[in-house]
Every structure is written in structure tokens, then in C-alpha cells.
Amino acid sequence: MSLDNANPILYERTKERDLRPEDEDDDVEDEFDDREVFDLIRCINDPEHPLSLEELNVVDCDNVHVDDAGNRVEILFTPTIPHCSMATLIGLSIRVKLLRALPPRFKVDVKISPGTHASEDAVNKQLADKERVAAALENSHLLDVVNQCLAARPSAG
């Protein structure tokens, strides 16, 4: 199979988050913030390269918007090329990761960064349709592929 984007540009990984004293304190209520949700998705593997979504700049912290009090999370992701056929799969992987990692009170919207994909509206509509997402995740082949994207790579640390 030929790769959609054979020579993607590589981006540097962000540093680990510095621990603050209050992070260790169980009595301090720790709200979800942009960085914490970004940390959940940045290590997701790209479906066709042995690289993380962060290394390909598909996700970055500035495009993660968390409203803890309003129970909302919005992720904008940027396909490496405007005709990327993997866009839906990447969005689905982000959705599934957050579905599993975040408390169910959160409403998660995963969309393509405006203007970065030829079929932006169609992909966004499919990702927003929870019935189709639910049906897709009952497809064992597709679920395997998503799980591979979500599996931690030893090299990614």
C-alpha cells in the first residue's frame, strides 16, 4: 500500500509537564485543563507512520480547548495533507481515546482545523455522528486498527 504522505514534516515533542506541589496534594481539586487533555492524545500513533500525532503536528496544545465547568472538550486536528484519507480514522482514534480516558460528563467534539482538509465538512459530520461512531466501534477490524493507534509505543516513552 502506498503511503498518503510519504515524507511528512517532523515536529519536536513538547517537554513533560512540570509537576507543581499542588499536583501531589489530594486535597486540591484538580480541574482538567488544555494541557492535561493534550497529554492524553499527543502520544496517539499515526495510522501509517511510526510517529505520534504530536510529532506530525496533527495535534497541538493550542488546538485543545477544555471547559471543565461546562463539561466540554473541543479538539481541532490538522491532517498532514489536505487529501489525507486517514483523517476520519485519526479523528476516531482521538474520540475513542477521550471516550475512554475522560469522565462521561464531558461532551467531546473532534473536528478538523478549519481549512486544512478537502473533505472537512464530511469528515466532521461523520465524527460528530455518535450513532455511526458506535456502530464503527462494533466492527472488530476497525476497533483493532483504532486500538493499534492508541497502543503506547515503547519508544514514545
Binding site: 460528563r105 461532551k107 459530520k125 455518535k130 450513532e131 456502530a135
Partner: protein, 336 residues
């Protein structure tokens, strides 16, 4: 303003609940979901309890259930591409038929008022009409491919043999039998995204539809020769959008139900809120106004997938959610 009071919470499903449906007598409520089971709830003294659990009918999520008009049969639509027909004899449910033919997920099933026709719709973009024979056999009478995308829901007119369906292609379509085949005779275009649900009012001259575009639309039927001068074709009525309720819902609206007893509309959706709307008294038929009469924020802790008025008890309704619960509510109306 009116209000909604919770009567009880029914727990038992192990995952998201997609649909609730009252039997015609209003004495039983069927629910179904991702856990591949159907639960039948009924009253025992002052409490609502689970009377039966129907398993082994489907291999995947059960998306929708519908009772036959006589109340003796229940049909279930599943992501496994089949529809099961359950027969209720002496209180026990037994699967008597499995309808196969759709290429993938079946999204909904609906019985015509006569009980002799059944409609199903699917992700495969088609709507199927099935004839119910006297000896409990089901034969495919028509396959209609009018929609260009995933068909989310279909429902029969309360008195005529007209079927309405709605789709991911943003439209509502109406079907009827012509000479010897079923055809689409009207396409209702106005929604800007997926239409999740459509329902008729008691008389069948109005339709309500709800959408991913966060609006509710009311459609009015204009028959040939109507006084308003709305153009029609042949003997069919024209359905025109006469009202759009926007600004009330914060996220996708998944369901709407029109009470055939009181005319009130109830909606549920991705903002976890149940809302009841009533038509303003004396409002113009051609430009009706609907007011929000009651709402409960956080009616469920997650998305509400379905809301259903009890067909016999006024102002009594059921809802179900991704949070795995079914809830029963009383709507208390106060004069505005």
C-alpha cells in the same frame, strides 16, 4: 410555565439506552440498547419494575423497538442488520421471525396503524416495506432508495398509509403506494444537518422533525385546492415548513415526540435536557408559534437518546440516555 417532575429511574441496562417505546395500552415500556437486550418495564403496585429481559435476538446493539398497534408484537432493529419480531403470549416474549435483507445497520422499525405493514430503514440508505401475512409471515413488498445517505428513522402516518423517513442527507421524505409500488412523493428540505427523528401529530396534518442543526421544524400539509394557494402536485398534499424552533437546544436533538393526547411536543438530545413545547393558543395555522413550557437541565447525566409520551396517560413520559438509565416523568402544565 409548566414543570417536569421525575417519577422514577429504571436501572438495569449495562450500557447506553437507545430507545424507549410504550405499548398501545400504555401499560408496558420497552427499552433497548448497546447491551443487546430489550427490557420490558411494567407497573407493580406503586413501582415500575423490569418484567422481562429479552436476550439472544441480536448480535449487536439494538437501536430501536416498536410495538404493533394490537400490542401483541414487538419489533426490534439492530446494528446486526436484522429486525426481530417478538410475539407476546401470556406475558412471555418469543422471537418468531428475523427479517434479513438490509446490507448493514438497521436504524429503525415502524408498524403501520393497520398492523399489516412494517417499515425498516438502514445505514444502507434504503427504506423497506414489509407485508405482514395472516400466519405471522413477513414479506418484503418494496425497497426504496430515495435517500442518498444513512436513513435514521421512519414512522407511519397515524391514519393513512403514508411513511415518513429522515436521514443523514438532511431531508425528510414521504412515501406512499402508487398502483403497485411504493414511491417517494415528497422531499422536505430545510434542515442543515442530519435529521434524527420525525413524528406526526394526532391528525397527521403536521410533522415535527429534529436535527443535528439544533432546530425543531414544524411542517404543515396543504391539500390540493387549499385556500392559502400553496401549489400542489396531483392528489398529494404539499408539506411546508411553517415554524422553526431555534435557540433552545445547545447540541444535537436526537428525538421529538408529539403527544396525541395533549398536542404537546417533547424533545431530548445531546445537551442532557428534556424540553416540552406547546402551541400558543389561537396561533395562526400557517405560522404557528410554539412556546417552551417546561425544561429540566441535567435530566440525565449524559445524552438523551429518546423521549416518549405515554399513549394513554396524559402528561406522562419516558426518556432514556447514554447514562444507561430510563426515567419516567410527569409534566405539570400551568396556564400561561
Amino acid at each position: 410555565m409548566g414543570s417536569l417532575t421525575k417519577v422514577c429511574t429504571l436501572e438495569g441496562h449495562e450500557d447506553q439506552v437507545w430507545c424507549v417505546a410504550w405499548n398501545p395500552a400504555g401499560s408496558l415500556l420497552a427499552s433497548c440498547g448497546t447491551d443487546k437486550t430489550i427490557r420490558i418495564w411494567g407497573r407493580e403496585g406503586d413501582n415500575w419494575v423490569c418484567k422481562s429481559v429479552l436476550t439472544d435476538g441480536h448480535q449487536r446493539t439494538i437501536r430501536n423497538v416498536a410495538w404493533s398497534p394490537c400490542g401483541n408484537y414487538l419489533a426490534s432493529a439492530s446494528f446486526d442488520a436484522t429486525v426481530c419480531i417478538w410475539s407476546r403470549k401470556e406475558g412471555e416474549f418469543e422471537c418468531i421471525a428475523t427479517l434479513e435483507g438490509h446490507e448493514n445497520e438497521v436504524k429503525a422499525v415502524s408498524w403501520a396503524t393497520s398492523g399489516s405493514l412494517l417499515a425498516t430503514c438502514s445505514r444502507d440508505k434504503s427504506v423497506w416495506i414489509w407485508e405482514v401475512t395472516e400466519d405471522e409471515d413477513f414479506e418484503c413488498a418494496s425497497v426504496m432508495s430515495a435517500h442518498s445517505q444513512d436513513v435514521k428513522y421512519c414512522t407511519w402516518h397515524p391514519s393513512r398509509e403514508i411513511l415518513a423517513s429522515c436521514s443523514y442527507d438532511n431531508t425528510v421524505k414521504l412515501f406512499k403506494e402508487e398502483i403497485d409500488d411504493w414511491t417517494c412523493f415528497a422531499t422536505l428540505e430545510s434542515h442543515e444537518s442530519t435529521v434524527w427523528k420525525v413524528c406526526f401529530d394526532a391528525e397527521g396534518h403536521r410533522l415535527a422533525s429534529v436535527s443535528d442543526d439544533k432546530t425543531v421544524k414544524i411542517w404543515q400539509e396543504y391539500m390540493p385546492g387549499n385556500q392559502e394557494g400553496v401549489p400542489t402536485v396531483g392528489k398529494d398534499g404539499t408539506w411546508k415548513c411553517v415554524c422553526t424552533l431555534s435557540g433552545y437546544h445547545d447540541r444535537t436533538i436526537f428525538d421529538v415526540d408529539w403527544s396525541h393526547l395533549t398536542g404537546r411536543l417533547v424533545t431530548g438530545g445531546g445537551d442532557d435536557c428534556i424540553r416540552v413545547f406547546r402551541e400558543e393558543e389561537g396561533s395562526d395555522k400557517n405560522q404557528p408559534s410554539y412556546n417552551l413550557s417546561a425544561s429540566v437541565r441535567k435530566a440525565h447525566s449524559q445524552d438523551i437518546n429518546c423521549v416518549a409520551w405515554n399513549p394513554k396517560v396524559e402528561n406522562f413520559l419516558a426518556s432514556c440516555s447514554d447514562d444507561g438509565t430510563v426515567k419516567l416523568w410527569n409534566y405539570n402544565e400551568q396556564d400561561i
